[in-house]
């Protein structure tokens, strides 16, 4: 197929491991195979991603799951109705702390293997002691207010009795700057997507204390964001793009390709990081500290319908946290908007699946603290939280 016959698609992305499907679809010919010339543009902030997709510079974008929801609910600037056309993977995030904070947490009985409850309780005990001693509250970094990272960190903190707005400080930093901010003592810890946890671990600057998969197993992270209007105008191109990303994900999921994938992602034009920093999440062996230990878990999953088919219930969970932390005011109407934003129909028709193959709910919601999320009673779920804004 000659270049002249390809449909051009411009995609914005942030340098993170879960941009892998876009990177591989674009560089390994999976997009071209579907008649698409996929042009990737690396961005420096999620705000730029939001603005540039809203004004039409980008056709699609690598977005934080809650971002299209915030746009559809009009609780962000430059808000236009958006869709999460597919998930770009599950998991992939971790919480990393400075060496000094890790030493303190060990003193309080933190788990060595990333288990969130014991480590969280150690942190809670430390936070109380620091407050009693009149010391500055601990500072944590997240990548964006409307992000899985913000909600995971907050869920974990609140789940062990730490109020994320009163007992600690949470600020926002771009992912690649987190390791440096930790080294310069601007923050004591952060929640970010890979490889920006492993970068700190391998260089001996930080310790991973827990990870997304341990807080909320098999949970969505980035999505393929698209405006409702672009999706409506270009259904065929969008379907082919999704097919290309699905084919790219099958390549990415093969363990024998992990080293090559890490090398491609690490290139200066993409993530611009050491290739070995990309490997742990790709091989399911996360190294928590410079000298170990290593945990084996499927901390980042990109292939299969389970990792790609949008699920309205996941959208509802993100919404419950938006309300919990004062970003949105609950309304029954909003529930419909959220479910539509995370509806599986675009992906299903791209894959030729039956329209209601949203059997994903069967996977359930298993949080580290044992609380149940009932998508049928979002209001009741939110009201049940003692710690909230």
């Amino acid at each position: 197929m000659s270049a002249g016959t390809l449909d051009s698609v411009v995609a914005g992305y942030i340098p993170l491991l879960d941009s892998a499907l876009l990177v591989i679809a674009s560089t390994y010919g999976f997009a071209e195979e579907q008649g698409i010339d996929l042009k990737l543009i690396r961005e420096t902030s999620w705000a730029n991603i939001r603005d540039r997709i809203a004004v039409g510079h980008f056709d699609v974008a690598h977005m934080l799951g809650p971002m299209p929801i915030a746009a559809s609910l009009k609780i962000t600037t430059l808000a236009v109705p958006m869709r999460a056309a597919m998930f770009l993977g599950l998991g992939g995030n971790a919480i990393t702390v400075s060496n000094a904070l890790w030493a303190d947490l060990q003193g309080e009985g933190a788990a060595e293997d990333g288990e969130p409850r014991a480590t969280g309780e150690a942190l809670a005990s430390l936070v109380r002691k620091r407050a009693d001693a009149g010391r500055h509250p601990l500072r944590f970094g997240v990548v964006h207010p409307f992000s899985g990272h913000a909600y995971e960190l907050r869920y974990w903190l609140a789940g062990v009795g730490i109020h994320p707005d009163r007992d600690v400080e949470i600020s926002v930093l771009p992912p690649p700057l987190m390791p440096d901010a930790l080294t310069m003592h601007q923050i004591d810890g952060y929640c970010v997507g890979e490889p920006w946890n492993t970068v700190s671990v391998l260089s001996g600057r930080g310790r991973i204390v827990t990870f997304k998969e341990a807080i909320w197993p098999s949970s969505p992270e980035k999505v393929l964001g698209v405006t409702e209007s672009w999706a409506a105008r270009n259904p065929d191109v969008l379907h082919r793009l999704i097919q290309a990303l699905k084919n790219a994900s099958d390549w990415c999921a093969l363990k024998e390709n992990a080293t090559e994938l890490a090398q491609v992602l690490a290139r200066q034009e993409f993530l611009d990081c050491p290739a070995e920093a990309c490997l742990p999440a790709l091989t399911g062996r996360l190294q928590l500290g410079k000298t170990g230990p290593e945990v084996e878990a499927e901390i980042f999953k990109v292939s299969g319908y389970g990792a790609q088919l949008p699920n309205p219930h996941h959208g509802l969970w993100f919404y419950s946290q938006m309300v919990r932390w004062g970003q949105a005011i609950y309304s029954d109407e909003d529930l419909k908007v959220v479910q539509h934003t995370f509806a599986p129909d675009i992906y299903s028709s791209a894959m030729g699946l039956a329209p209601l193959t949203a059997g994903r709910a069967d996977l359930g919601f298993h949080f580290f603290d044992g609380l149940e999320f009932n998508p049928e009673n979002v209001k009741g779920y939110i009201d049940g939280f003692k710690i909230r804004s």
Binding site: S45, A47, D51, V55, H57, S171, V172
Partner: protein, 195 residues
């Protein structure tokens, strides 16, 4: 008459920031503060308490700024991104030009729009000129740039060619920069001021 607006320009490109500052001065805005360093940005904004913030889109701190604007205890007055829904074209023009603006709550759009429009036109002109320069960045082009810079100095200062070259060299030495860099800044700046 309403009190003068204070305008904070966040741009780590010194030349571009100065060009915007000049444009704002020319438009009668004298409370313009330039910030190049990102360290302690939050504290600086709280101190300056600006009415309008202009920031370049290459800046990786936009997410941090927007978060700070949401958490109101860090700033004295609510600040939001400049979005005039009736004028989608100007938002697109701003993003196209690579600039964004944030404005305190309650400011009338008639007062803010000219500031944004000015920033957009200066950003555009700057990128057009830097693109032209980048394309022609061969040794020959560098020599031509120095020639152009000398010509500008001879014309504006009424000095000889030798004196113009010595002035470029002295400026470069004083700032520990290359002559070509000084010449480029001069050519860009004078190109913009002719706009």
């Amino acid at each position: 008459m309403s009190p003068a607006l204070s305008i904070l320009v966040i741009d780590d490109n010194h030349i571009r920031a100065s060009i915007i500052e000049q444009g704002l001065h020319d438009a009668g805005h004298f409370r313009v503060i330039l910030v190049h360093e990102m360290d302690g940005l939050v504290r600086r904004i709280a101190e300056i308490d600006p009415d309008v913030i202009v920031i370049d889109l290459e800046n990786p701190n936009r997410d941090k700024l927007e978060h700070m604007f949401q958490v109101t205890r860090a700033v004295q007055r609510p600040i939001a991104m400049f979005v005039d829904q009736s004028d989608a074209g100007s938002i697109e023009a701003a993003v196209e030009a690579g600039v964004s603006a944030y404005v305190v709550d309650g400011l009338k759009k008639e007062r803010v729009k000219p500031i944004l429009d000015m920033a957009i036109s200066r950003f555009r002109a700057f990128s057009r000129l830097t693109n032209e320069l980048a394309e022609a960045r061969s040794e020959l082009a560098e020599r031509k740039t120095v020639e152009r810079a000398k010509g500008i100095l001879m014309k504006t200062r009424g000095i000889s060619e030798d004196e113009a070259y010595r002035l470029l060299r002295k400026t470069a030495m004083n700032q520990s920069r290359k002559i070509i860099e000084v010449a480029q800044s001069l050519v860009i700046a004078s190109g913009l001021l002719e706009e």
